[in-house]
């Protein structure tokens, strides 16, 4: 069922479709929160809070781009998280420890491909954490979610040129970080 129809039904009182939306977009929101905060654990809470906020205001929501709307809520929550937790934008311990903790015992049993993917996601998270917040969210939305600069501009409230420059600078920095041999050491 299309998002517009889901929203129409929810606003008509069929609350069960709220669950459908949550199941449909949970992963997307989770990954965003995860790479934005660098914490796999907190990302579950933030993704959950995103949907709880959406549910709170769903009766006033006017359909436009549901996924973008959810990502905007998640973005604001992540910004508050960064301010509230006072965590420095360094490589997240939880991301690393979870990966590392599992890696010890599972590395032997998992196939090489799986192991490489895990390594890569860890590497990516670490590289993204080194970017400034605003560049990171622009890069994630543009490069991984495929949003156009104009759409990101609407979501973040920044001007089009600001978003364009954030994406460009963010990608340049990401490239520099990933090209460094000693980056992850």
């Amino acid at each position: 069922m299309e998002d517009r129809e889901l929203i129409r039904r929810i606003q008509d009182g069929q609350k069960q479709y709220l669950n459908e939306i949550a199941e449909k977009y949970y992963d997307n929101i989770y990954y965003f929160c995860c790479y934005q905060t660098g914490s796999r654990e907190d990302a579950y809470d933030l993704a959950q809070e995103t949907f709880l906020r959406f549910i709170r205001y769903v009766d006033r929501y006017q359909y436009r781009n549901l996924k973008g709307y959810l990502l905007t809520i998640a973005m604001n929550l992540c910004r508050n998280y960064a301010c509230g937790s006072g965590k420095a934008p360094v490589l997240s311990e939880s991301f690393e420890s979870e990966q590392g903790g599992r890696g010890e015992e599972e590395a032997q049993v998992s196939c090489g491909r799986e192991y490489e993917e895990r390594e890569n996601s860890l590497l990516l998270a670490a590289a993204l954490r080194r970017l400034p917040d605003i560049q990171r969210e622009a890069v994630i939305l543009h490069y991984f979610y495929g949003y156009k600069n104009r759409e990101i501009s609407r979501m973040t409230g920044a001007s089009y040129s600001a978003v364009k420059s954030r994406v460009r600078q963010g990608l340049e920095k990401l490239q520099q970080l990933l090209n460094r041999e000693d980056f992850y050491e």
């Binding site: 949550a22 579950y44 996601s121 590497l123 490239q175 990933l178």
Partner: protein, 284 residues
């Protein structure tokens, strides 16, 4: 990763050489970087912890169950609802005005009335019609109706805006009716005719809206009716100037029209500001 993203990735600065290394090294580095980025992009969606995800979804399901969905009507529904709130007297007066407008226009046509006379009659008629249309707004400011008429969905400010919009639509209908049927009686053309009609209308509306908030007390309703009649009578002012409707005075009319429009906008802005502030309009 979709095709668009792949294409963008190829065009992105990630693939642009930046320093002064040799071409061979650059190509090699770019290739390695490219492969690395590609593998990172494929790996950015890692496996989620299903138990944690399910716990999260369970909390969301619980919140969805307890959610009380409140229905918010659309803009069109709001317009219609506000129109329905008007008492039958008000609607009868507005309907009567429309009917009278058509009869008046028809009569002026049949009499082949002089352009000047038809403009005066029509402009005064339009002013009274405008004031009757605005009576929906006036009701909100008299006899402490505002707090009674606030709906579940709209606050006073939104309600005033919607009623003004309704009044504006009705005024436009009457104006176009008059202009369409009697405009040809005027030798100066439709533009000038509209200007002659609009100037008294704008000025009387400015005065009327100002009095709505100025006369807000126990006897407000009667005073507002008097204000409406007085404003209508003020539209007769061009009668005292014999050459007022001649082409030479058109710049004056334009100036007055512009000033009236600016003042009306300022008056509406002021009313909305007063409602927002709530200082001058104590609802209780």
């Amino acid at each position: 990763m979709n095709e668009k993203m792949k294409k963008e990735k190829m065009e992105s600065p990630l693939n642009e050489p930046k320093d002064c290394r040799t071409e061979h090294n650059l190509a090699e580095t770019a290739e390695i970087s490219d492969r690395r980025i590609q593998s990172l992009q494929e790996a950015w969606r890692f496996q989620l912890d299903e138990s944690k995800k399910n716990r999260s979804l369970a909390v969301i399901r619980q919140a969805a169950e307890t959610k009380q969905i409140r229905q918010y009507p659309s803009f069109r529904e709001n317009l219609w609802n506000q129109f329905c709130f008007l008492p039958w007297k008000c609607r009868a007066a507005q309907g009567g005005m429309l009917l009278a407008a058509m009869l008046l226009a028809g009569w002026l046509n049949s009499q082949h009335a002089d352009g000047r006379d038809s403009i005066i009659v029509c402009s005064v008629f339009l002013v009274f019609a405008g004031n009757i249309c605005l009576s929906g707004v006036a009701r909100l400011f008299s006899w402490h109706m505002a707090e009674l008429e606030q709906t579940l969905y709209l606050n006073l400010k939104q309600m005033v805006c919607i009623r003004m919009l309704e009044a504006g639509i009705l005024d436009l209908v009457i104006l176009s009716l008059l202009a369409g049927m009697t405009g040809r009686l005027n030798s100066l053309g439709t533009g000038a005719y509209l200007l002659y009609m609009l100037v008294p209308f704008l000025w009387s509306d400015v005065l009327y809206l100002h009095m709505l908030t100025a006369f807000r007390n126990g006897a407000a309703g009667y005073r507002q009716i008097s204000a409406g009649i007085l404003c209508g009578l003020l539209a007769f002012f061009p009668v005292f100037f014999e050459h007022a409707y001649e082409a030479a005075y058109l710049p004056w009319w334009r100036g007055l029209g512009l000033a009236g429009a600016v003042l009306l906008a300022a008056e509406i802005y002021g009313i909305l500001g007063k409602i927002e502030g709530g200082d001058s309009l104590c609802l209780n």
